[in-house]
């Protein structure tokens, strides 16, 4: 009788499975140790010194954020520019900004944003993606939302909308009233502004760059 082949030996495959799994797990853990520091939030000092972070610190709310094509990387990235007023101030301290962001992030979970919207593209598809919502032209000076809510700044228009969403329908599909208070709304807007400053490797592509084009508009 021919010698038994290793390829039909269960022990061989059991050991292979263990080694492959172990190797893949170790690699994942090693990559995790590399990734986590890269996506840890920056500080106020980073922002003041122009140090680029993939996830900037909470005081990014004091600055103007734009989404611009980076030729070298071949896609758009958030660019942090000059100081900009946020709810009438551009001097939110590190503690104040962190507190506001904390309230907003908590609010985003408790109000269940993710089961209608997508955040960083993850969630449900019943409502628009919020990744770069802060940069959406609809909320800017040219957009319709400031006039609709009777507010003169982006953050106030967003805050007003979040508190009374079903009063300002933009589509037959409306956002329900989630009992969001004025303070919570402020936090949520800070959370949205912060999220728009995260370097998402160019997602979503061409955000806010295209006007019209459908139905010849």
């Amino acid at each position: 009788m021919a010698k038994k082949s290793v390829w039909s030996d269960n022990r061989f495959w059991q050991r292979s499975a263990a080694w492959v799994t172990g190797f893949a797990s170790m690699l994942l853990i090693w990559l995790t140790f590399d990734t986590i520091p890269q996506i840890t939030m920056g500080t106020n000092a980073d922002l003041q010194n122009g140090v680029t972070k993939r996830v900037p610190g909470p005081t990014v709310i004091n600055y103007k954020i734009t989404y611009e094509m980076d030729k070298k990387r071949g896609h758009e990235i958030p660019v942090i520019g000059e100081k900009e007023m946020f709810f009438g101030r551009d001097d939110w301290s590190e503690e104040e900004a962190a507190e506001l962001l904390h309230l907003g992030k908590l609010g985003s979970q408790v109000k269940n944003c993710m089961n209608c919207h997508t955040l960083l593209g993850n969630g449900a598809y019943y409502a628009p993606d919020l990744t770069k919502a802060w940069l959406d032209p609809a909320w800017g000076p040219e957009g319709s939302m400031q006039a609709m809510t009777g507010k003169s700044t982006k953050e106030e228009a967003m805050s007003e909308f979040l508190q009374n969403p079903s009063q300002y329908p933009t589509h037959a599909r409306m956002m329900p009233d989630l009992g969001i208070t004025a303070e919570e709304a402020k936090g949520l807007v800070a959370f949205l502004k912060h999220m728009s400053s995260i370097d998402t490797n160019g997602f979503p592509r061409n955000f806010g760059k295209i006007q019209g084009a459908v139905h010849g508009k």
Partner: protein, 474 residues
């Protein structure tokens, strides 16, 4: 229960798990139907049961019924594999009631409280607002305790009785399955880090540990239903484990393309997740090959009878091989490269994949286990299909395929209009949603959802009555 042929407490406990799982499966479909209706009639239950609430229950019920049916499946096969009664069965029964009661409370709170103020208490008591693992923190801790008890029973039984290859794989897999859940229990203000760990749970469940679970159960099913040779089946199982974990663990990279994580995940995610369909092809071939082989051996003996000892269950196992390959493999592969995913990420395309993958890879197999339990409970040697089994199976599988097709077409509109053409803004999003083709897709999804829901009732009716049919071999 009366007239039960079950001789082990482990199998009796398994039937409890299966029964509760089937009820929650019904709840999943019901709330899915509410959410699907809201796409077509936006005012439906507005500010009563909003889309966010219906959808949260839809996907949480999905996770819960599958976890229940998975635990039930392990309790079902343990006496057969180890040759002994499961150790710690009293604990198992107690934990069943604790788990079931906790789930009922969680769902009632989702439905009746819905949202709270933006503070930590809401995370502890209402929900955590993180897709798929929304369960509030008190329930998180409860789930960990319950699952630890289950793992203890599995290990104690595996170490005391005969530890087959299938039991060995399950012991390792279920421990990983439970351990990974811990990665999703924390809170952070940094949404990139939040989603990084969140994917550890979701991805390492559905694209790694759950798939290995499916491999183990399919192996058990082939041995018990068509008498496949254990040595061959277990060798396949080890190869599948190597392929599934070898591709699936680092395939995680495809969730790290756009959440703030570095660009190197593009290459890692693309490479390893592109390999993920391979084990699914292997599993598909494995099931059909073994079936042909066993039937061929029977025919060679001049016997003209089917080797299948449970026709409805085996049908579901074959549908699992197909559905897993199509839903997880093909539909996953469609959008796994970053060049494509840049536009498909967060569209109905993902939803199409999600529906066929969860149902095809897990729903099918677990329904097959329900039928195995019915066979065992009624002491049937060869269980044949009834008209109801055929209708139930066709309506549910056809319904999910139909929903997937409809969502795929709507997804294309989403991708092309909202994303490629309009650049993903608020108005771009609604431009896509208002497109006629998108809306027709949503109409068809609702219709196919109703077919699936009706099929569920036929399935339940069959599960309750098939044991009493007279055309089985006892």
């Amino acid at each position: 229960m009366a007239n039960s042929y079950l001789t082990t407490e482990s199998k009796k406990l398994a039937t409890w798990y299966f029964t509760f799982a089937a009820i929650i499966f019904g709840a999943q479909l019901l709330f899915g139907l509410v959410a699907a209706t809201q796409y077509v009639i936006p005012g439906f239950l507005f500010e009563i049961v909003d889309f966010s609430v219906a959808r949260m229950i839809h996907i949480n019920a999905l996770v819960v019924w599958m976890v229940f049916a998975m635990i039930g499946s392990v309790y079902w096969l343990l006496p057969d594999e180890t040759g002994i009664e499961t150790v710690g069965i009293g604990l198992g029964k107690l934990l069943f009631w604790v788990f079931a009661a906790a789930i009922v409370v969680v769902v009632l709170v989702y439905l009746l409280v819905q949202v709270g103020p933006a503070d930590e208490t809401s995370l502890w008591l209402i929900h955590e607002g993180r897709e798929y693992i929304e369960a509030p923190r008190w329930a998180d801790i409860g789930i960990v305790v319950v699952v630890l008890g289950f793992i203890y029973n599995l290990y104690a039984t595996g170490m005391k009785g005969n530890r087959s290859g299938i039991v060995t794989v399950l012991m390792a897999d279920m421990l990983a399955f439970a351990g990974i859940y811990l990665a999703g229990m924390g809170y952070t203000d940094n949404i990139s880090i939040d989603q990084f760990w969140w994917w550890w749970v979701i991805h390492l469940w559905v694209e790694a540990t759950w798939e290995v679970f499916v491999g183990s159960i399919a192996a058990y099913g082939l041995i018990t239903m068509i008498g496949a040779h254990r040595k061959v089946v277990e060798m396949w199982l080890w190869i599948e484990v190597a392929m599934l974990f070898g591709s699936g663990i680092l395939g995680m990279g495809h969730h790290y393309f756009w959440i703030g994580t570095p660009e190197y995940w593009w290459e890692i995610g693309a490479l390893f997740s592109a390999l993920e369909p391979l084990p699914l092809v292997a599993m598909f071939i494995h099931v059909l090959y073994d079936w042909g082989k066993m039937q061929g051996e029977e025919s060679a003996k001049g016997q003209d009878v089917s080797v299948i000892a449970n026709k409805p269950a085996f049908t579901w196992f074959v549908l699992n091989a197909i559905g897993n390959f199509l839903g997880a493999g093909v539909w996953g592969f469609f959008h796994t490269f970053p060049q494509v995913n840049l536009y498909t990420h967060g569209t109905q395309f993902t939803s199409a994949h999600g529906h066929l993958a969860f149902f095809g890879a897990y729903g099918t197999l677990l329904i097959g286990m329900f039928y195995l339990a019915v066979q065992g409970k009624n002491g049937i040697k060869v269980m044949n299909a009834t008209k109801k089994s055929i209708w139930g199976t066709s309506m549910i599988f056809g319904g999910v395929l139909g929903m997937t097709a409809a969502l795929t077409l709507s997804g294309y509109v989403d991708v092309l209009v909202s994303r490629a053409q309009m650049g993903a803004t608020w108005s771009g999003y609604f431009e896509g949603q208002a497109s006629m083709w998108f809306m027709q897709g949503m109409d068809w999804r609702l219709i196919m959802g109703v077919v699936t829901f009706l099929g569920f009732f036929v399935l339940v009716a069959d599960l309750l009555s098939i044991g009493k049919a007279t055309h089985h071999k006892r």
